[in-house]
């Protein structure tokens, strides 16, 4: 994985750039000390590290606007950053770039129950929003596992999801309004407290754009009333295939659970050894199905899910009878990553989506790859929406294992695309999957996406080197070849 070659001309102007930034954000808001910059050298994808040229921590929208405008004028690249929990290297700094930390934007600006929405600054954590409205029985639905740390700004940039997303949607389905700043300093408002923003759905494009289109400075999200009850069923199967069949049958029966998660044998064993959730150890696949809603509905559906599971060959079934028990079921799943961390010096978490019906094939092919490269793999995944998280176990101290793990990971993602799925279900492309984009998209697809980028950031200064495998200049992308009278389309019916 190669990052764009740093521009030595820009690095040579570092002092001048720092001065310009200090004029906008005074005092400690501009960081140049190498030790202090270390805090930003990587995000959740720790395999890649790079010190930024300088970091700036603005605290007002005007400062963000001035910083971007100044960087544009000076031809300097900018990488926005929230909490730095991205697992695809989205916030990886650039040696010739400014790191724009949004950590000071921590205020909850408005809680509006009558319109069921909350307006916050982008540095507020995902869980912080739910906590702010919990006393009224409300919550913010998208719940990435990192919700205690990750920011809503980062969630917008990554279109983050979590266990609830099958039923309640991703970030993009729960955002009503945004304020953002373009690279030229323009401050824009999209949407608001009303539904359907009007005009082109620019909010839809910005959500999930991985910090390449603009810097988000304010967010309005929908909040929902907490369901009256939630109960979970733990289901064990003699094979992953049967587990997969059960998931399909639940959905075919018209049931969309609040969460539906699956783990394979290695993941079950690691999780059980870690948190003692009470998981059965003699099954090949474990399914947790959570039903939420009014008590009458949950009771009705629990019975139906149990019946479906029996029919699909479940050899183990346990329904939670108390809130403690339900949380215990989840404790194992939620701790699956650290649990796997205990049985292997290092692990690499992949993230791809497949059509659910391809699950048996994908698991089998993954096992073959694992046998071939000698690295173990544990699987936890969002079964309801086919989002896989294979965890590849390796030891970074053993020469060649990191490279082997990366190669294995790439092969898994290519397999996801091959069976009709996509490279990433929730972690984003970032630098990690950038060079695989050509496996999912052809040149015309990628060029059209990059033209969109040009509409927002014509000089390509915002977070370059992420998402797109090849950097094109906007002028080149904008060229249009038209030949007069080239085609008369004789075959097309006319009236």
């Amino acid at each position: 994985m190669k990052m764009p070659v740093p521009d030595s001309g820009v690095i040579a102007r570092r002092r001048e750039i720092v001065e310009a930034l200090r004029a906008i954000v005074p005092g400690e808001g501009v960081i140049v000390d190498e030790n202090e910059l270390r805090a930003y050298e990587c995000d959740g994808l720790t395999a890649y590290r790079q010190l930024p040229m300088v970091a700036v921590l603005p605290s007002t929208v005007e400062q963000v606007s001035q910083v971007l405008k100044t960087c544009k004028a000076m031809g300097v690249k900018v990488v926005p950053r929230g909490a730095g929990t991205s697992l695809s290297g989205g916030a990886l700094p650039l040696a010739d770039g400014v790191l724009l930390g949004m950590g000071k934007f921590k205020r909850i600006l408005d809680i509006d129950y009558a319109n069921r929405c909350v307006t916050v600054q982008p540095g507020v954590t995902n869980l912080g929003i739910s906590n702010a409205v919990a006393h009224e029985g409300f919550y913010y639905a998208p719940d990435p596992s990192s919700q205690i740390a990750c920011t809503i700004g980062g969630n917008i940039a990554e279109n983050s999801g979590g266990v609830h997303c099958l039923k309640y949607g991703l970030t993009t389905n729960n955002v009503l309004g945004l304020e953002m700043v373009l690279m030229d300093g323009t401050i824009l408002r999209l949407g608001g407290k009303h539904l359907d923003a009007g005009g082109y759905d620019l909010m839809g494009i910005v959500t999930g754009s991985e910090g390449l289109l603009g810097v988000v400075t304010e967010v309005t999200v929908r909040i929902l009333k907490k369901p009256a009850t939630a109960r979970a069923v733990l289901l064990g199967f003699p094979s992953s295939e049967q587990g997969g069949d059960c998931v399909a049958a639940i959905i075919a029966a018209g049931i969309i659970p609040g969460g539906m998660e699956m783990m394979d044998r290695p993941a079950i064993h690691a999780a059980e050894a870690f948190v003692h959730a009470g998981y059965p150890l003699d099954v090949e696949a474990l399914l947790i199905v959570e039903l939420d809603g009014p008590a009458a509905e949950v009771d009705h559906l629990i019975d139906r899910v149990e019946a479906i599971a029996r029919d699909k060959g479940a050899c183990y079934a346990r329904v939670s009878t108390s809130e403690e028990e339900r949380l215990a079921f989840w404790a194992g799943r939620k701790a699956a990553f650290p649990a796997v961390g205990r049985i292997s010096p290092d692990y690499y978490c992949m993230d791809g989506t497949i059509p659910r019906k391809a699950l048996p094939l994908v698991l089998q092919r993954m096992q073959e790859m694992s046998d071939r490269c000698g690295l173990r793999v544990a699987n936890v995944f969002h079964a309801g929406d086919g989002n896989l998280h294979p965890l590849i176990l390796y030891d970074a101290n053993k020469p060649g294992e990191l490279e082997a793990a990366e190669e294995f990971g790439n092969d898994i993602l290519r397999l996801c695309v091959e069976v009709g799925g996509v490279l990433t279900g929730e972690h984003g492309v970032g630098v990690e999957k950038r060079d695989l984009m050509t496996d999912q998209f052809d040149e015309a697809d990628l060029q059209q996406q990059q033209r969109l980028k040009c509409a927002f950031d014509p000089d390509g200064l915002l977070n370059p080197g992420k998402v797109f495998p090849t950097l094109h200049r906007c002028a080149e992308l904008g060229r249009l070849h038209v030949h007069q009278g080239e085609l008369r389309f004789p075959d097309i019916p006319r009236f």
Partner: protein, 391 residues
Amino acid sequence: MTITTLKPETAAQVTDAVRWALSAGEPLEILGSGSRRGLGRPVQAGHALDLSALSGVIAYEPEELVLTALAGTRMDLIRSMLAERGQHLAFEPPEGGTLGGLVASGLAGPRRISAGSARDHTLGIAGVSGRAEAYKGGGKVVKNVTGYDVPKLMAGSFGTLTALTEITVKVLPAPEDSATLLLFGLDDRAAVAVLDRALRSPYEVSGAAHLPAVIAARSGVSAVAGAGGAATLVRLEGFGPSVAARVTMLREELRADAVLGRDESLAVWREVRDGAGLGEGTDAQLWKLSVPPSAGPSTVEAIRRTLDVEAFYDWGGGLVWLTARPDSGTAIRAALSAGGHATLVRAPEPVRAATDVFQPLPEPLMALSRRVKESFDPKGILNPGRMYAGL
């Protein structure tokens, strides 16, 4: 003013047609079934690109919750196919038209408050840009964050960015049962307050509308028309036992006057969805306003100060349908002080040509929208002027 209609039968022919239009400098008006050609700004094009022959469902897998079809496929066909497997498009689109027309119009029904709109369910697209380039965006699975979410941008772009040839949508189980709580005789403000209470409850309300007396009286559902005054509607849907339990609890909590069972509930929400009750066939203009839900009544009050209008509320007060005498745009838009926007949905052609059909955008946003349009269609070949003059 259409001179020719081109009717491609394959995606490759769509590319040929756009390539010709581009080289000849002849703009195209894109048609699905053309059923609603009388809506929006009249397109300034001498040629029509009729996509209705691009028809057929390519893949439908109920367990995967996705359906892929050619863009010209008629919605009736898709609807009945989904219904056979107990599924539907959860955003409750209006009947008729084609899948492409539906997505391009970015529509949604009363279930917008819980299920979202067309954008939320459009997973993948293939199409031909105004550069005569065939490309695709998004994917064919329900969870995907690979690259920009181009399918969302297509929803509500009214064919000004791309001639869509293929679309993948998310489908969901259709509710087993439906019931509607009715409250009678409330004024607009009191009604929206009740809708707010219902939407703050944990009972998963999937429709929240208020019909003032004149509108309620025109309903085809006797319990609504016979109320003798305004009718406030709260819908609950889902599995039978769940609907029954929620109806009991919410009826008590809201002190509702009556409950509509399945058939009447379905009928009344069809009326709400279609904006029925607002005088079709008159020369009045039909407007659709999207505002913060609590600001619905005050917005209508402000409009009433200068105009004689009939209006009703959906989306808990956030969607106002209203009819007004001609030349109402300025007064309506001036009343949107709480935020939101107004779209002119029905009016005679000269009015649509002279009025801003869509809410005018603030200049920085308009400039960005123009650049977005140019990135897909630099020569303005596709539906020029449909959304905004000069775009």
